[in-house]
């Protein structure tokens, strides 16, 4: 557990994680850290651009670059979208981009606060991944206007990260599944790092609380890695979040108990925070690399980001604070069409990002902003793992006819049908040693599928003792008593281009029913998009 004090983190980040918690963030004027002056300036500009595009998507119907003074007729008739989480998501996305470039990471981004789509879309657009898939959304003024107008508009795109979002395997909306999807995605994907942002709202849900145990089933070399990022921005729709009011010490203990070391980045001064998060991400990735190399204790990193909700947005309205409160959750200035003062405040807010410095005369992102993004498929909006159908290898199906049971006369043979299915699944596992998994809440044996275990074992990364039954760190079967984990892992595994089966008792199949509904909706929506290749 480390608090990154950017006033000390420059040496710290170079020398490895600091030895203990720092004294908090100083509102440093001159900040030291891993970012060079040029890098700090560039990421700060990228962040302003992403924030500008996020606000534009929520509000604007015309005048995307504010070439004219803002007028009521430039504003959408109905204001939708979530500002509160967006600046934090962009902040993270952009710093991950730096590390993708620096370390040539193969990375995907999962936004648990998927309602922060304005941020995810803004970044996909800035790095060109959006235009690659939707050529009509060009990187110029006309394309920017299209990006703004389509957002949460009939005939446009949803206000949540969703199937049409390039780079996403995770739908925003129903919260709780981001970690299970991330862990499912990296299983048997040893080169992949999934950055999974967990909102402090989602952190209260049961499925999310149950997801942390996933590391106890992850193989450091045969699987990829997940870097969870808990984004504590303080409030839900109308209430503080439980964990925003929980002490750092309690959070550190909680994660330590789950097998993680927490890296805390907390504050609101952008320059200091840029340095701090860069240092923390470097340290976390170093830790992942060390775990992968097999050295030392296997304590997984997690990043805790405490930043204001609606960061860089309006500070207050009518004497009530907005930034840092629940009032920033969705649309912070909701009556800009009816209130000229609010409209002026919106204009001042948008101009505070200085769009004319960030986009060129045509409306294209400035060169340094484009250069901040990784290249080609290293862009998180273009990573093929997030369009798993492209990577799908067909499942080798063993013949089933040899398993037919001879029944000389009716009612003369006694056989359990699932035992026979188990034999076929055994052959299936053998024929597909690296892209098929069986997820089960401890019911493989009791469902009579035990023959599978003649070909493989049950995966378990905690200590294994002699009386255990066919456990190993290399099994194709994962048994955990959580239907939510089984279903979520399966979804993440399948959406990244592999095959799997979730077997459970029919009485308990209902437990993750809403997950299954959401997943089938995803598949249905993906079917409509030509660029999404079909998954298993």
């Amino acid at each position: 557990m480390f608090r990154f004090d950017p006033t000390i983190s420059s040496t710290v980040a170079a020398a490895g994680p600091p030895a203990g918690p720092g004294a908090g963030l100083a509102p440093a004027a001159a900040v030291r850290g891993p970012l060079s002056t040029a890098e700090l300036a560039a990421v700060e500009r990228c962040w302003r651009a992403a924030n500008y595009l996020a606000v534009g998507q929520i509000y604007l119907l015309e005048n995307p670059l504010l070439r004219q003074p803002l007028r009521v007729e430039h504003i959408k008739p109905r204001l939708l979208g979530h500002w509160g989480t967006s600046p934090g998501l962009s902040f993270l996305y952009l710093h991950i981009n730096r590390l993708i470039r620096k370390r040539d990471l193969n990375a995907i981004f999962l936004a648990g606060p998927g309602h922060g789509a304005p941020a995810v879309l803004a970044n996909a657009y800035l790095e060109g991944g959006y235009t690659a898939i939707y050529p009509e959304v060009t990187q110029d003024e006309a394309g920017m206007l299209r990006l703004f107008r389509q957002f949460s508009t009939p005939g446009g795109i949803p206000s949540h990260v969703s199937v049409p979002t390039p780079g996403s395997i995770h739908e925003g909306g129903e919260l709780g599944y981001v970690l299970t999807h991330a862990f499912g995605a990296v299983m048997d994907n040893p080169g992949l790092v999934a950055f999974a942002v967990v909102g402090d709202g989602e952190f209260e849900t049961a499925p999310l609380a149950g997801s942390w145990k996933s590391v106890d089933f992850l193989h450091p070399q045969r699987d990829g890695a997940v870097l969870p990022i808990l984004h504590l921005n303080g409030y839900k729709i109308a209430n503080p979040t439980v964990d925003a009011r929980t002490s750092d010490a309690r959070l550190f203990q909680y994660f330590a108990g789950l097998g993680y070391d927490a890296y805390l980045v907390a504050g609101d001064d952008p320059a200091a925070m840029h340095q701090a998060v860069a240092a923390a991400l470097e340290a976390a990735l170093d830790r992942l690399a060390a775990i992968r190399a097999g050295g030392g204790e296997r304590r997984w990193p997690i990043l805790l980001l405490r930043s204001p909700k609606g960061w860089t947005g309006p500070k207050e309205w009518n004497g009530l604070p907005i930034e840092g409160t629940f009032r920033a959750h969705q649309v912070p200035l909701a009556n800009v069409r009816g209130d000229a003062e609010q409209l002026a405040a919106l204009e001042a807010w948008m101009r505070s990002y200085q769009p004319q410095e960030l986009f060129d005369e045509r409306g294209a992102p400035a060169d340094d902003i484009r250069a901040w993004a990784p290249r080609g498929q290293r862009r998180m909006s273009a990573n093929p793992a997030a369009n798993g159908g492209k990577l799908l290898r067909p499942l080798a199906l063993p013949p089933w006819r040899p398993l037919a049971v001879a029944v000389p006369a009716p009612a003369t043979v006694r056989l359990e049908s699932t035992r026979r299915l188990g034999v076929w699944l055994r052959d299936l596992v053998q024929a597909n040693p690296d892209n098929f998994r069986l997820f089960c809440p401890d019911e493989l044996d009791s469902n009579r599928l035990s023959a599978v275990l003649e070909a493989t074992q049950r995966r378990f990364e905690l200590p294994i003792i002699s009386i255990d039954d066919r456990l190993s760190t290399d099994g194709r079967v994962i048994e955990v008593l959580s239907e939510h984990l089984c279903e979520g892992w399966l979804e993440g595994y399948v959406l990244t281009g592999r095959h799997g089966l979730f077997c459970t008792y029919e009485a308990f199949a209902m437990i993750p029913a809403s997950m299954v509904v959401q997943h089938t909706k995803w598949l249905e929506a993906a079917h409509e998009l030509p660029w999404r290749a079909p998954v298993a």
Copy 2:
């Protein structure tokens, strides 16, 4: 975090919790602890009796007191029921009984491992609560036979703790909800202590993992208390549990992070364990009393019990270990009807409890065993809180006619219907200040029910700051972003005789669907039982 070493816990328990972890359990021959010699002998006899009755329910169709040598025709045709968890449940139940007597506790028992019904039923029978409700199941040989025969038999009772189980508000089977039910039960029940046993299998489920935050919504004086007991007996059906293979240190950190101090009782020597659990329970109840008294830091106690699965049962069969492994999960000797050696082993196992010493000539429990139980409604099988309909006060319903909206002509009035409902709910909350609660996943405002907050506030037990919106430690509204918590708390609240409402978006109502199904099944089954008074 304390390990109870029974060789030192005698002074320890008298002087308060020890200052640090002990050195583990010595296989002490002469054990010191809070139990007097007579108490130790009595609880040891009670435990033997409960274990005997548990085994009898699983196996026997005749010859309940083993007056004759055991023969195949005394064995049930189909062996069902779960032995593995049963001895641990009885062990806890009996030690809680001692403290109910000693401290005059108003307590209920929730068995998360509800498949350990043989234990819960055995204890209800021993303390007379069972016979009080089912007079035909007499406390004599004939009644004992009836107890055995009815168990998991067509026309009998389920093999899980369920609606027919006296003292239960919690159904076994679908795992994950025991803590939410316990916390719901104690809300607005300041005198009540709910002992909630969580199995280490259930501990892997998402709904259970999400339940610990409940303490952050519990008022130490206005609500009762929950003592969670995590029973780590090592194995699920076929796999080790994740947390049985997690170090004590990690578990301590995990619970510390959640706001709990863990009291560990670990071992397998019965005499030592009796003293250790007695000491730990005393310390945990002292802690609850201190929190209630308002002194010091609010760190809730939780008991961790590491004991062998199938404790006191067969050690091994055919060279394979049974006690302490997954093979003890259900019926440890499954072929007693087909294998004379197994039958002999069963007989030896049952006779090891020395039933002739525990039950008198008529088959009634011996006097000291009956005297171990609390009296009347203090028995957990007879506590009215677990038959909530008996305590139900009708909800005072405010008039709705005054809220009618005048509509002079069609399509002339614009009004959101849920806003109007909010006004009525406001009046409802005012009219029912201590037995109605509104549970909501942070959607009260966005569902336009905000008028409720004119009459009450949102309950929150963590620090409240000035920018928060109508939060207090005394609100009738609880908002947490977990549909599982909301639904589970509501169920526990209603089943103990109060009224409540769970309001959520229709899109997310599906999340706890399987809980709702299970609850409605409970209500349906309760309707068939004349002794269960209807709940709200």
